[in-house]
Symmetry: D2
Subunit: 335 residues, 4 copies
């Protein structure tokens, strides 16, 4: 028997989403002209307590890259963390969608940026035409190491952006996990903290193929609708995209799924407290783990990724069975 | 009561595909590492009677643009028909994915190219460095006016491509309809006729979000796997993509659906024989129709697009009800 | 003995420009920080009777492509004439600099656009996200067939641009020849007629390597300074670029050189009046010429390009010797 | 009186180059069809003792970016030093010309890479489709800190490139200074050491606007001729470009100029030996220098750039007067 802690991308799709697809399975207008798609602005404006433009896309990479293309001209640069997904895991999607903008890499614990590290990078950037000028900042919430920015931390970076003339993007592949962890409103760690555009992830959280791209400045969305088509991301039958988002937002399903995943990770974190590389604030657990220990766990059927030498990552999915979490927690304790 | 002849994109998803999604709904490897995705090369190699590389993508635009990027360097040009989808309906996706290659527009009846019209364009192109040099030819099967290239017609263009050093792409958004119309094997109008890469459409034919990108020269697929990721088209949960393709290919569902649509269109074509702008060879019917006539049809509940002044397009979907076809045929007769 | 009527690009550099290079040959700040470069805004603001931003570049292609990148986002399109230099003779430079914008080709006699032909194209462009939306218009003054737009003709297109939300670019590779032909002020056929950005050519007119890129809306120039660097066009020793422009503008040298070339062409045009394909309004003469006649001329030592079948182009350079013009005029008469 | 040690870009053009321009000042074929341009392959093949393709370009940035575009597809990455000119001083030109390839930054003393630092970076790069795969290595000779790679050091990196499947580019903005320093043949530190393409700088060394782009694998040059045009770098009157290169290569002028600059820098280095941040191996001197000391030097008329806090850069030009070098050396001693 194997127990998968590889990735939340490997998890199945939750029932409500499958049911929504079935319910949407009738003729309607093509592309994003259907009733569900045209309702998304309203749906997310309510959720964020502000007029927003909301577009479905199929992947987090597409969401991030379209967002960055909306806020960073091709001759400019995006500041992000050295360990950011947009730098290391998207095969150059930001460079592709922006037509060659540069990513400038800043530092920070737990893959989180701070005004100190961002300012250090900005201050080292000459303003002449020979050097690519930063136009945007991008952070990941929760971070690539499962750490969550507090509302104040986001707001501090938002203030920095206003001050230094940068647009502010949040890669929210695990935005749900962050909101649950903080117990805040979605607005608190997005537009109220200065975020201009959010990649709001649903696929890791139980969706099938729908992410939401949320523009808090609706003007930024105009060109994106063309770029979405131009990049091949305007689905022919968009209603099956919109249906997923509606199902996830209705009845707070997105929060429930994230809470389940966070809880599982918290239990794992407690069981492995002495080995933690980062605090467990979302649904990921990063551990010190020797090769022998890793082998021992794998021999017991636990599947997970090494994360550098002597380190490992365990991801808890929205539907991770109780028994698997209990088993892994116990295995941690026994190590 | 309304009867939709707008677009096959507006049609629902067929039951077998929905069932396949449900069946795929369990944990498996992420991206394209799952069992279904890794089986696609075999599935399509059997279908095409040749070793191919087969990648799922989510839209025809993505399939076309990735295909063109694989065969046309950015400083070169793609020859296509003036009315080609890649020219008029993809918001510049080919230009985006190729980083600025040019589309050179050739002529031809029914949106079909011929060696004569392609050679005329090529012969008018100087070979110095000031003029963009053609590197690829792209045709649409069935064409944008619902016309089908015979195997010989494709082969003649394939021969031209070999002779003039062009790579050959086929936009097969309605490839199924063409195969059904011709009663040929898929190989006959693709690689045996010189096609290097095929955008094999399934969404218009009853799929939800999966198209297949088929490389008859497997070497061309290598960079495309990176470009698919880079363009945000590597789905996190690819198994739901692959499952659709498997369901469509198994038991010849793709042929059955296309046959149903073609039959419906044929009946409409017969009923409107005197008004046809193009022969009806796939699932689209293009008619001369005055504004008054168009209004009359709409008043009866038929929904369709005008297609220029005094002309209209009717598309028959894979699941178009018998009764709707009969009603529209009768309405045509009465006009 | 051979007499070259191939191209004004083949002509030598005029003495004043060579002298200016020699005079600039001392140490000064690098790039565009030198005294000559920093004086260009003033120089051209005086010439155009308006505050402008003026940047040197080395080629007309660079000027055009940088100008178009300043006014056309990558997901949009540029309307130009089917015979435009930017379409046929720059190997896709506009597509490269704009990162994949599309050129939409309009018609018109003598390679000149008119509101009628431009509106026809615009009216045939749907405004949905599937079709690339025009953002700019580009015309060539004098046109690729040596025809000159009058101030009223430019202004009519300028008005159309304002009305339809397009930015307006002028490829002025032979702007000097147009100004001389019209006897107008530079402003009359540029910003006063609605032009936003002008590629002001000097190389064909006696310069060595310096063209001027003139922004009548200074805000458009900001990003261009970065793009000029990014495209490798910020010369290390820019003072030798600026020196050429200063020399050409001082004492109206640009007008004198263009007048000489225009006069020569006019004489040739008169001598070949019955064969003219287009009115001779600048320094180019397009003729009907049979293969036998072309051979006869070449046998007499005249060098020129065929321009399609049975047609030929003769270009008169700023320094074309009197004797050569007289000889060719006589040869035309004798044909 | 001011004495400029700002940059070799600020120096004048040497007499032989000015004379060559004057000598080239007659009509000839346009673009690169003239006798001088067509002779470049031969000229540089002799110099490098190997069949090469040699293209003139106008700037080092253009040379580098065209070279990198020839060896790195857009979905791949270029490994270079953290302090490389292509990373920090070209406003994203490599990203622009490659259409979004990534620069991966490796470490090394004196802005020099070594197999150790390059392998460390490569070993940390996963080979899946999520991570941009390195396709090229680029080094600067002499480096950004005026350090010279020996032939063995270049060859070690060349071997690494062959082993790891990378193409190898050398930014030789100060290639001449490196050759002089090593007393080697040009071939020894280029193709014989595995370099595929060289940006061979002449402008800093006394030229006006001509750099040479040397392809040791001639096949790589084919697309570059189109890309040079497409990027606006095909000069209309290319003979004035080629003439500069011919003048610099004839009679070893490039070596003489570089030797003069190197000698001056060596004298300065000796005078400031205790303050050197890097060994002086080319024509640049990097020093520890307090703000007070910098002010003292500036008060004496010496012009130079700060290079970080407490550090400064002095560049000696090919024509730097003896007296200025002596004066600065003495000033260093007095500090």
């Amino acid at each position: 028997m194997t127990m998968r802690f590889f990735s939340d991308n490997a998890a199945p799709v939750c029932d409500a989403v499958m049911a929504a697809l079935a319910k949407a399975n009738h003729a309607d207008d093509a592309y994003d002209g259907d009733a569900l798609s045209t309702g998304l602005n309203h749906l997310f404006s309510e959720l964020f307590e502000k007029e927003v433009e909301a577009l479905w896309v199929t992947t987090g990479t597409a969401a991030n890259a379209l967002a960055l293309a909306a806020i960073c001209p091709s001759h400019n640069a995006i500041v992000c963390h050295r360990d950011a997904h947009i730098q290391n895991d998207e095969c150059g999607a930001p460079e592709f969608f922006t037509a060659g903008a540069k990513l400038l890499l800043a530092e920070g614990e737990g893959a989180k940026l701070s005004p100190t590290t961002v300012n250090a990078l900005l201050d080292a950037t000459r303003t002449d035409v020979h050097m690519t000028q930063p136009a945007a900042l991008s952070i990941t919430q929760a971070s690539e190491y499962g750490c969550v920015y507090t509302a104040d931390e986001v707001a501090a970076l938002g203030a920095l952006c206003r001050e230094r003339g940068l647009r502010f993007h949040m890669d929210g592949a695990r935005f749900a996990n962050a909101v649950v962890h903080l117990g805040c409103r979605p607005a608190d760690i997005s537009w109220r903290a200065g975020v201009d555009v959010l990649s709001f992830g649903f696929v890791k959280n139980g969706g099938l193929s729908a992410e939401a791209l949320i523009f808090f400045d609706p003007a930024l969305a105009v060109a994106t609708r063309y770029r979405r088509k131009r990049s091949g991301h305007l689905m022919s039958k968009g209603r099956y995209q919109a249906a997923q988002l509606v199902a996830m937002v209705e009845d707070d399903l997105w929060l429930k799924n994230a809470a389940a995943a966070n809880d599982g990770a918290a239990r794992l974190g407690q069981a492995a407290a002495s080995r933690l590389l980062h605090p467990v604030e979302a649904n990921e657990v990063f551990l010190r783990l020797s090769a022998a220990e890793a082998k021992a766990l794998r021999d017991q059927g636990f599947l997970f990724h090494d994360w550098g030498i002597g380190e490992a990552r365990f991801v808890v999915s929205w539907n991770q069975p109780e028994a698997e979490i209990a088993a892994l927690a116990e295995a941690f304790t026994r190590l």
